[in-house]
Amino acid sequence: MLKGALRSRWTTLAVLALVMAIVPLIAPSAFYLRVAALVWIFALAALGLTILMGYAGQVSLGHAGFLGVGAYGVAIGPAHLGLSPLLSLFLAAALSGVIAYLVGRPILRLKGYYLAIATLGFGLILALIFQSESAVTGGPDGMAVARLTVFGWRIAGAVQWYWVSAGVLLVGAWIALNVADSPSGRALRALHDSEVAAAGAGVDVAAKKLAAFVVAAVYAAIAGGLLACMNGLITPDAASFMHSVEFVAMVIIGGLGSVLGAVVGAAFLIVLPQALTSLQEYEQAVLGLLIMVFMIVLPAGIVPSLRNWLTERLP
């Protein structure tokens, strides 16, 4: 029975909610809440990517570009178009989805590493636009972002942002888990294993891949919008190639296709550098070493490996 529980989506949500409830109780200062909020926000983006990479098996090296679309949308809406930040957030997420739809149709015909390069190029072009169109985007030094207000409540401060980002992640996780268990989700995973077989079984391969791509883009955009509003500022490096690689790392280290894996991966790459600051110059070397060790010892990712280990030992 416990084994079944380990794989149930309710367990995942329960564990997530439990951790979210505990963190504020043990956090010594607002700084830890800010770091946790960053983890929830980046986990949301990583979640979108794990749906694309883990369920549908499509590699994207331009994910941070969509995060940038969301972030800049939320910045430009109020500043240049006079819209409210909340409305801008929704519009930016929708815009991100539309861009993903338009770009995805030609790009997703590519396979494997070819797809990776195409998404890399696309992400680079987006980052380049954010950096170059200074009149609209503020250029390399970025632009200020108006605070987010939801029905009159102005979200400010580490505590409020902690709960907002946690809540949004929980909703995002619930949606992702539902998708995974639905016919669409099973179709996606069939795609991952073998596109030809899936097509033979009646799955509309192109449509499903595109849907996963769009969903990933929307998740990233929402995460980007939240990040921009929380920081009150957005810079083009948020959409950089290195950040795209970071998201891929979160997904792989945490465990491909695992919702908890996306969260654990995000936590790994955000909390660890903070914990390693006392090493000063040695931090990067140690971080690289830890990534290598984790991947050698747990090649399936942290959460799947943990789950397998627990499954073997439970009745």
Partner: protein
């Protein structure tokens, strides 16, 4: 015409470096299906180690030689300590390991070397040569010549020597290669070592032009990877053509279209190529096993 020539020289020089990095990617991919994200860091080791060894008093050729050996050692260590233990893992996990390795190498480089920019003196002087109204640096000729020589050497190695054919055999089918008595582990180590050497030589050749720093590896890896893909993953000629193509696109884009968006022009060109030829220029058709 003179302007076009100037852009051509500029594009060929930088394209030659991308081609060499792409060759390294291709070699390792052929032997092991791994995309080695640390490939660009071999370029960095070649350049930085030469700079520091030369500053410590060694002559330039000796410093370069030792630097290349150092890069080969790093490549072999990477294979032995990071790739070998994870042999059965999925390609995605292996790529993640190389990403971790790249971060690690950069982290060590900033401690062993330093975080400033460095340069090397040009091999045969820095007086530009006038050619058809444009100028080209002697060092550019070294880079382009070096790329041609290395590519030719690699081609001859793979096609004409027994060891080289063993590499190709391993790439085609690892199990079959093992069955005919090829020591796959040695082949893989060889691939990593040779790739590292190619990268390091590229680093030594190009540092007098592009300067070097502990973190330039990432950018070269990015462009080299793109070049290898656009040329058709696993095809050495494709890697070279891809590299030169990207270099030319960047230079012509900067000169004729927009200097701000020149990287965008290059990648747009890549996207177009892939749109019409989803397996890259030399990728050709391939059968997908059901």
């Amino acid at each position: 015409m003179a302007e076009f020539l100037q852009l051509l020289f500029s594009g060929l020089t930088v394209g030659a470096v991308y081609a060499l990095v792409a060759l390294g990617f291709t070699l390792i991919y052929n032997a092991s299906d791994v995309i080695n994200f640390a490939q660009g860091d071999f370029v960095m080791i070649g350049g930085m180690a030469t700079v520091f060894l030369a500053a410590a008093g060694l002559s330039l050729p000796l410093a370069a030689f030792i630097a290349i050996l150092a890069a080969v050692a790093v490549g072999l260590l990477l294979h032995r300590l990071a790739i070998e233990p994870a042999r059965g893992a999925s390609p995605v996990a292996l790529i993640m390991i190389t990403i971790g390795a790249s971060i690690f190498i950069k982290g060590v480089a900033q401690i062993v070397f330093d975080k400033q920019f460095h340069s090397l003196p040009a091999f045969t002087g820095s007086d530009p040569i006038a050619l058809g109204g444009a100028t080209i640096l002697p060092q550019s000729l070294w880079v382009i010549g070096g790329a041609i020589v290395l590519f030719a050497a690699l081609y001859l190695f793979l096609e004409r020597t027994l060891l080289g054919k063993a590499v190709l055999a391993t790439a085609a089918n690892r199990l079959a290669a093992r069955l005919v008595g090829i020591n796959v582990k040695v082949i893989l180590a060889l691939a990593f070592g040779v790739s590292a050497a190619i990268g390091a030589i590229a680093g030594v050749l190009v540092t007098p032009i592009t300067l070097t720093r502990y973190d330039i590896g990432t950018l070269f890896a990015l462009k080299g990877f793109a070049a290898a893909m656009v040329g058709g993953m696993g095809h050495p000629l494709g890697a070279v053509v891809g590299g030169v193509l990207i270099g030319l696109m960047e230079a012509l884009g900067a000169g004729y279209i927009s200097s701000t968006y020149k990287d965008g022009v290059a990648f747009l060109a890549i996207l177009l190529v892939l749109f019409f030829m989803p397996r890259g220029l030399f990728g050709g058709g391939s059968v997908e096993r059901v």
